[in-house]
Every structure is written in structure tokens, then in C-alpha cells.
């Protein structure tokens, strides 16, 4: 766990560590800048011997925003004090819905007493409901939501939007309170049913199905989830040409694909047990069904494509004897430039856990040198690669191979002078597959023993379970 003190100290020490590398004159200049800020008389007047009163007077919080800021702050304080750095732990879907700490509920209650639902303007309902839910004042939350619903005009789109917002408020609160929102969910279902009958709005129908599908997953009602996923698939099959080219469908097609993927979960596993080709074909079918277009020549996320051998100028710890990814081995190729420092520690732990569980798995981190932006001579690629090796393999002890490519680059003409690194061949080979769904990122590729890309996704805690499941299937498969 890092505290503010840690961050400040690490910065200071890092700063002073740089000084050691400077000669006397530059060292003087650096210190001069730093020490200038320490001239004591420039500091504003402050009391040295009396600590200010930092206790919080919630009665002085006049707005809902202040109250929610307080609960958020207390919650963050609580999480920061958690001795378990959660990003180093395997992902648990329930962690998003853990109950709020008692302190947060207590603060929420004290603050919520200032706001009487009957006289608070109805346009503040969303914040008020959120505060009531945090404070476990569920009855009040329901009454506020009901009042908002009563204030809706005859416009069915507005009614749908309000209902959807209410359901989201209850379902995605901590802990999830889907059961309290049951009457609203029922109304949402009724509205969607009306759309089914009169076919008035395909857009709202898809949105409604997807919301109800998500709610079903939260309460572990897989039967309902399947029902709504099926309905989304049915809508996808019946879309008109106008729907397909509309703006709303651009977003909805990913929702449809998600639902179809859920429906095909078992089929996916079965197909992967059979072959990567069958697995990829099923994905191709679902994706083309979602986007209503045939995907020619490629599969989403490069699934089913042949993985190009990696090329690198520097290999760590040793240059491989044969090509990577190696035939006859299951491999993970991870493009690592996106990720940095503390923000990615969860990824380091994910890699370590996977490597520990599957010792025979071949994991390769792929990087390319960055150079300096300035007009000074860039560092030697060997030097940059060496530093990368010291960091990932030496300090973080990642059980992987590191492949570093020296970046080709060009400089823009004066006065811009900017250095533009070209994408490495590795990057082009792995990220140039047509048909990749927009808005979805990937930095990791799972490759089977035949050198075929099984899947690509982000290396993160949330997708670790799915990745492990696929590796297990591949390990059991007799290729």
C-alpha cells in the first residue's frame, strides 16, 4: 500500500538520486532550484505548535455534491488503509459489489438527514438517491425514485431513460440492491414488452434487453440472462438496413456481440477443445451476426490467424534458439509498451500467477525503444533495452522472455523537430488484422501449439479467469 508519504519520499529520493550523476556545477544548479523553494520566510503564516481542528462538521455540508464527496473521500480513505493491495489478488467479480464500510454509511446517514426528499428539487433525484443508497436509507431512495418517475412526461423515450437510470442506480450501488428495484425492473420489462408488440423502437428494445441481461447476471439469474441474450440475437437477425447504418447500432453491436458470446460460452469451450479453427469460426459467426456484415478474410481480434514470428534486436535473458512463438508450445505474446509502473502492478501479478500455474507456458514481453523527445542525441537502443531488462526481469522478476526492438524513427522538419517512432514489425504483424471490432483494445495474444492465435485481449485481472480457462483447454488438447 502506498501512502502520500511514500510517493513524496520516492519522488524526493529519486530526485536526489539524479543529483549523484551530475557534476558539481549542474549539481549546484539543481540544488539551487530546490532550495529556493525552502526559503522559510516565503511560507505563509502558520501555527507551529497547534494542530488545526480537522474533525469534519457534516452539518456544514450544504449540498448533495459535498455529501457525496464526503462519502467518496471516506471510502477512499478506507480503501487506502486496506492492508491488502487488491490489485495483487486474483479478480473476484463480487469485489465491485462489496458493502460499503460502516464509516461511509455513517457519514452518509449524517449527511442525508440534511436533505428531505419531499422538498429537494426533483432534478436532484439522481444524487439524492445515490446518497440514500449509500446511507442504507432504502425507503427514502425508493420514494425519491418513484417521485421522479411520476414527474415524467408522456414521452416514452424519457420514461424509458428515467426507468433505466433508476435501475442502474439500484443495481450498481454497493452492495447491489436489485431486489429493491424490482418494481422498476418490472416496469422496464413492461415497456420493453410494449416495444416488442408495437415494434416502435428497436433501439430502446435492444438497450432494454441489454440492461435486463446485465441485471440478470448481477443476481446470478442465468435463465433470464439467456432469455434476454436470445432476444438480442433475435433483434440482430431482424434489423433493417436503416438500423444497421444508424448511430445507435454502432454502440449496440458490441452489446449484441457480448450477449451472443454469453450464449455461446459453452459452445466456445467445446469448439476450443476440438480445434482453434472451430473456436475462431464460432467467433466469426457471432461477430458477423452482430455487425450484420460478413467479415472477409479475418476474424475479430485476430482469432484463428497465424501468429507471425517475433523479431527483436535484443532478447533477455537469452536469445532464443528457435523462433518465438515456438511451434509445439503454448505461448502468450504481450505487447508491453502501453503499461507503466504502479498502474500496471495488477498485470505483473497476473503474469506471475499464470506463469506459476502453467510452468511450460512461453510468455514473451514485446517492447520497442522510445528514445528521447528532445533534440539531444537519443540513448543507445542497447542501453534502453538493458534498462528495460533490469526493470522487468531484474526488479519485478517477471518469469518471461523480453524482446526489445530498436525503433526506426524520423524527425519532423524545423521548427517541430519531433521524433516519430515507426511501429515495429511485430506491432504491425499482430495489430493489423482487418475486422477487429472498434473500441476494443488488446495487448495480449494467446497462441496454440500450431502457432495460431486463439484469442487477444487486455492482460488484466478481470480477464485472467477466462485466459486461464483457455490455457487449460489448450494444455489438455492433443495438437
Amino acid at each position: 500500500m502506498l501512502t502520500f508519504y511514500d510517493i513524496v519520499m520516492s519522488f524526493l529520493l529519486r530526485f536526489f538520486s539524479r543529483l549523484k550523476k551530475l557534476d558539481g556545477r549542474r549539481f549546484l544548479a539543481w540544488n539551487l532550484i530546490v532550495c529556493s523553494f525552502s526559503i522559510p520566510t516565503f511560507l505563509p503564516g502558520q501555527t507551529t505548535f497547534e494542530w488545526p481542528n480537522v474533525s469534519v462538521d457534516y452539518s456544514s455540508y450544504m449540498t448533495l455534491e459535498e455529501c457525496l464527496a464526503a462519502t467518496s473521500r471516506i471510502n477512499k480513505f478506507h480503501e487506502d488503509g486496506n492492508p491488502v493491495y487488491i490489485d495483487t489478488m486474483p479478480y473476484d467479480p463480487r469485489e465491485n459489489f462489496l458493502p460499503l464500510p460502516d464509516e461511509v454509511i455513517s457519514v452518509g446517514r449524517q449527511c442525508a438527514q440534511r436533505f428531505i426528499s419531499q422538498i429537494t428539487p426533483i432534478d436532484r433525484w439522481r444524487l439524492l438517491t445515490q446518497l440514500y443508497l449509500q446511507a442504507n436509507l432504502d425507503t427514502n431512495a425508493i420514494s425519491v425514485a418513484s417521485a421522479r418517475l411520476k414527474a415524467v412526461s408522456d414521452d416514452y423515450k424519457e420514461r424509458f431513460a428515467v426507468l433505466d437510470s433508476i435501475v442502474v442506480q439500484f443495481a450498481f450501488s454497493r452492495p447491489s440492491k436489485v431486489s429493491l428495484a424490482e418494481p422498476f425492473i418490472q416496469q422496464l420489462k413492461d415497456m420493453v414488452r410494449e416495444f416488442e408488440v408495437d415494434r416502435s423502437s428497436t433501439e430502446l428494445r435492444v438497450k432494454g434487453y441489454f440492461r435486463l441481461y446485465n441485471i440478470s447476471l448481477i443476481i446470478n439469474d442465468s435463465t433470464s440472462a439467456r432469455e434476454f441474450a436470445y432476444k438480442m440475437g433475435a433483434v440482430a437477425d431482424s434489423l433493417s438496413e436503416n438500423d444497421i447504418v444508424s448511430d445507435w447500432f454502432r454502440e449496440a453491436r458490441l452489446q449484441i456481440y457480448t450477449a451472443l458470446t454469453f450464449l455461446s460460452a459453452t459452445d466456445y469451450k467445446d469448439s476450443l477443445k476440438k480445434s482453434t479453427k472451430a473456436f475462431a469460426a464460432l467467433h466469426r459467426f457471432n461477430w458477423s451476426r452482430s455487425i450484420k456484415r460478413e467479415v472477409e478474410g479475418a476474424l475479430p481480434f485476430a482469432r484463428g490467424e497465424s501468429a507471425a514470428p517475433l523479431e527483436a534486436d535484443f532478447w533477455f535473458p537469452t536469445t532464443p534458439q528457435s523462433g518465438v512463438p515456438a511451434r509445439g508450445k503454448i505461448s502468450v505474446v504481450y505487447f508491453f509498451n502501453r503499461c507503466k509502473d504502479l498502474a500496471c502492478w495488477d498485470e505483473y501479478y497476473t503474469i506471475r500467477r499464470i506463469a506459476k500455474r502453467f510452468p511450460e507456458l512461453e510468455i514473451t514481453l514485446v517492447m520497442q525503444t522510445g528514445g528521447w523527445f528532445s533534440d539531444a542525441s537519443p540513448p543507445a537502443p542497447e542501453q534502453e533495452a538493458q534498462y528495460a531488462s533490469q526493470k522487468w526481469l531484474g526488479f519485478h522478476k517477471l518469469p518471461v522472455s523480453l524482446a526489445v526492438t530498436s525503433s526506426e524513427f524520423m524527425k519532423l522538419p524545423y521548427p517541430d523537430n519531433r521524433r516519430l517512432n515507426q511501429k515495429s514489425d511485430n506491432y504491425l504483424n499482430y495489430f493489423s488484422f482487418p475486422g477487429q471490432p472498434p473500441g476494443m483494445q488488446a495487448d495480449m495474444f494467446l497462441i496454440d501449439r500450431n502457432g495460431t492465435i486463439v484469442t487477444s485481449s487486455l492482460m488484466q485481472r478481470a480477464s485472467e479467469g477466462e485466459l486461464v480457462e483457455m490455457i487449460e483447454i489448450l494444455m489438455d488438447r492433443k495438437d
Binding site: 538520486s17 558539481g24 549546484l28 529556493s36 526559503i39
Partner: protein, 477 residues
């Protein structure tokens, strides 16, 4: 960086530590270290004389000095520890070393090693910002000066208030071999306001420099007094767009914020006024470098070697031209910045290292030969602005729209003459628009630009500009 002058003037006083004293302290500290490893020592001393007055009477007079020793220890088997003291006796120096080493032991588990390729290195220029006139400005001299500055206002029944500060400081650091680098600098500032006792008028003048002799205290006193007398009984006029004559201090108030926005990183992320649009062929955001962004007569630059523009030296400090003849020529960037490597540089990276070009807060703006009197004579209807009250930049990050109030003297110009004093007004205007609507430029002069750390010299001309937007009138004086 050793300054001979200070040695001569310091023979009989103890306001600053001499280089030899810093060397002795450094050597003594090194004797107390245990556990081997590396030791860095920074000694920073300063002497400051102040005189603050209000309602024609002194309210604060000080003459203070201090010296702080910062010890940075890195024993061989531990991480770094830092401790400081302002007691220079042997026992205290020994204690501060112990404290730094204890801190190093405690820090052992805290620090994450970093593996960033060492940044390119840049030269540190030799800059002299020392003035004997400043250093020799004693408490008695300050008292006499302020007494004379308050005399005229008091005789006329006006109220004078102001602040006079003299500072001299030294910085000494040692390298791994124990050699001491030693640098001294001075700074002086004087600002004063003369107000009508009923709050009916206000006049201001001020100047800052490393050299007291360049400040001209008597002239500043007269200017503030005259402005106060000339701004009695102001009238309210309707806000709107006016031709304005901005005195240099007003120009600095408006342009100072502009200079600090010369950030390359923002421009290349497609943000701010210097972003030139997305280049689809290269997949990058272009900047407006090389494009004309303001009036062709204006050049904005900084040369740390220029005596009037000197700032404390740092690695990479070098002359820079931000805008040459209206064309954007440079933008600030940090040399740590990686580019186009698949990720965006973190905030820490962007802040790491000093800009290789120059301080962005000290600058010089080119001008012309038109005097303020000539500007007034050629104006049929307009406003003469003394200065602005803390302009706030950032109403709109793309246009740099700013807002604030005029203060300490605003006059209406009609038919080539100042016709009457005007009540202060709120302006809402972009400095970029102002610099694109320039009619006439005056001779650049230094202005008041103190800073908590050091004087950041600013040299700007008076400007006559068209269609300056005033959006409200205020009774505040």
C-alpha cells in the same frame, strides 16, 4: 560561480557565509559520516531586509538572516536519507548527519528502484545576478527612503502604503569529491500605493530587479502619487469594446499568463491554443510551430545572459525565442518525454527534469518607438490602463480568454487627450486577441514581477490595441 565582489563587501559583516566557510562546514560534515557511501551537502543562506508601511507609517521593519544545511546521505548498504538544520555548530552538524543516516536506514524498504535511461545532459550557463547596490542597502537607508516616499502623500492628506524588500542569498553545494560550488544573488523590490483617504482614488507604482540602483524609488513614489491625484472622482462609463493603451505593467499582467501556456505537450495532445489540428497521414497532433499567431511586430524571447533578464542558472538554461515576428518558434517541453512509443508520457515524466530551453516566466517582449503620450494623442476615444488586478486565465483553454479588473488608475481618452478618470472595469479578453489587434508599440521597459523564489525579470512595452473588451463596471477602487 564564485563571486569576488561579495567577498570584498563581506569582510566586515556576517550576513552571508563565505565560500571558505561553506567549504569548512562541508568538510566537517564529511568527517561525521559513518558507513561509507555517498554524501551530498547543500548550504543555503540568505539575508533579507524588509520595510512595510501603511497609512504613511511603517508597520514592519526587519533585518533577518538564516542558513540551512541539507545533508543527503546514502550509506553503502541503505537507501538515501535527508536531514537539515540551521544550526552550524559542531554538535548540530554531527546530529544532522546522524539524522540523515537514521532516515536512510528507515527508508530502506520504502524506495522502489527506477530503471529509466539517464536523461541527456545540458550545459548550465554562467549567469551573474549580484548587485552591490542591493547588498549595501541597509536598514537606515530603507527607513530614510520610505520616510521620503510618504512625505508628499502625507502633506496632501493622502495615504501611502507599500513594501520594500532587499534580499541576498548564497547557495553552496558539494560534489562527490568534496569540492564546493558557490553562487550568490541579490534581488530587490519596491511597490507602493497612494490612496485617497475616502477611497476615492488610487495610484500604484512598483519595480523589481536584482539591482537596487535600477529601481528608481523616488520616481516610483512620484508616479504613484501623481496617478492617485489624477484619478480622483472617477466617472462610470458603459462597458464595451474600447481602444486601450496598456501601460507596461498592464501588458505584463496580461501577457505573463500567456507565456506560461507555451507547453508543447498540450499542443501535441490536441489541446490549447497552440494545437494545429490532427495530421491523419502521420497520426499525430500538429502544433502551430512555424505559424504566425500574433502581430508581426512582436517578438517574445528570453536571454539569461542579458543582465536585465538574468535568472538563477539551471541545467539547460539557454536563450530562447518563443515568438519571432509573430511566428510561434518554440514551445516548452521536458527532455524526459518519450514520444510515440505506444503510451502517453505520465505526468511525472513530463514534470521531470527542467525545461531545456528557459524559464517560461521571465521574458522580454519587443516593442516600437511610440511613447504613451503619442499613443494618447492619436486616440480619438479609448482608455488608458495602469494595470490589471490578478487576471485569471483559463475561462477558455483554447483561446486563453482571461478576466480580471483594472486597478490603480483608469482614464478615458477623448480626442487625443485624457478627459477624465474612469471607475474600474472588468475585462474579458484573450491576450492572443490583444496581440493580434495591436496599433502601436512603445519602448520596452522592466516591470514589477516579483516571485516567491526569485525575481523573474519581465521587459515589455506599452501597447495600444483595438477592440479590447470590458464587460462590467465596478465601484471598487
Amino acid at each position: 560561480m564564485y563571486n569576488e565582489k561579495i567577498q570584498k563587501s563581506k569582510n566586515n559583516d556576517f550576513r552571508l557565509l563565505r565560500s571558505s566557510e561553506c567549504q569548512r562546514i562541508s568538510d566537517e560534515i564529511r568527517q561525521y559520516t559513518t558507513g561509507g557511501g555517498l554524501t551530498s551537502i547543500t548550504i543555503q543562506g540568505w539575508w533579507r531586509g524588509e520595510l512595510r508601511w501603511a497609512r504613511n507609517r511603517a508597520s514592519l521593519a526587519s533585518d533577518r538572516r538564516d542558513a540551512v544545511v541539507v545533508v543527503d546521505r546514502k550509506p553503502e548498504t541503505f537507501d538515501r536519507g535527508i536531514a537539515s538544520t540551521n544550526q552550524l555548530d559542531s554538535l548540530s552538524l554531527k546530529s544532522v548527519v546522524c539524522s540523515a543516516e537514521r532516515s536512510a536506514r528507515l527508508n530502506f524498504d520504502r524506495v522502489l528502484p527506477d530503471f529509466i535511461v539517464p536523461a541527456p545532459t545540458f550545459e548550465t550557463p554562467q549567469v551573474s545576478i549580484w548587485s552591490d547596490a542591493t547588498y549595501n542597502m541597509g536598514a537606515t537607508d530603507r527607513g530614510r527612503l520610505v520616510s521620503s516616499l510618504t512625505k508628499a502623500p502625507e502633506e496632501k492628506g493622502m495615504l501611502s502604503a507599500g513594501y520594500l524588500e532587499i534580499l541576498a542569498a548564497e547557495f553552496a553545494t558539494t560534489d562527490e569529491d568534496g569540492a564546493v560550488g558557490y553562487l550568490t544573488h541579490t534581488q530587490a523590490q519596491l511597490s507602493l500605493t497612494v490612496r485617497h483617504p475616502q477611497g476615492a482614488a488610487s495610484g500604484w507604482a512598483g519595480l523589481s530587479s536584482y539591482d537596487w540602483s535600477a529601481i528608481g524609488a523616488e520616481a516610483l513614489g512620484s508616479r504613484a502619487f501623481d496617478k492617485c491625484l489624477a484619478s480622483i472622482e472617477p466617472v462610470r462609463i458603459e462597458p464595451g469594446r474600447f481602444t486601450v493603451i496598456l501601460e507596461p505593467q498592464a501588458v505584463a499582467g496580461l501577457i505573463g499568463n500567456l507565456v506560461q501556456t507555451f507547453q508543447r505537450a498540450r499542443a501535441e495532445e490536441g489541446k490549447g491554443p497552440y494545437s494545429g489540428g490532427f495530421d491523419r497521414s502521420l497520426g499525430i497532433w500538429r502544433s502551430k510551430l512555424g505559424l504566425q499567431i500574433i502581430d508581426k511586430r512582436i517578438t517574445l524571447d528570453h536571454d539569461p545572459m542579458n543582465g536585465q533578464l538574468g535568472v538563477l542558472p539551471h541545467e539547460g538554461l539557454r536563450p530562447v525565442t518563443w515568438i519571432r515576428n509573430g511566428v510561434l518558434e518554440s514551445l516548452w517541453y521536458a527532455h524526459y518525454r518519450n514520444f510515440n512509443d505506444g503510451r502517453r508520457a505520465s505526468l511525472r515524466e513530463l514534470n521531470e527534469g527542467m525545461p531545456p530551453s528557459s524559464f517560461v516566466a521571465a521574458y522580454r517582449m519587443s516593442g516600437g518607438q511610440t511613447s504613451i503620450d503619442e499613443m494618447i494623442a492619436t486616440t480619438s476615444r479609448g482608455l488608458l490602463v495602469t494595470r490589471f488586478s490578478n487576471p485569471i486565465l483559463g475561462l477558455d483553454s483554447d483561446s486563453l480568454l482571461a478576466t480580471g479588473f483594472t486597478r490603480d488608475g483608469l482614464w478615458l481618452i477623448e480626442d487625443g487627450k485624457i478627459s477624465k478618470a474612469v471607475k474600474n472595469m472588468r475585462f474579458t479578453e484573450s491576450p492572443l486577441f490583444v496581440l493580434n489587434q495591436v496599433d502601436q508599440l512603445g519602448v520596452p521597459v522592466p516591470v514589477f514581477s516579483p516571485n516567491p523564489v526569485q525575481i523573474l525579470p519581465v521587459i515589455v512595452p506599452p501597447i495600444k490595441s483595438r477592440d479590447f473588451s470590458f464587460t462590467a463596471s465596478t465601484d471598487a477602487v
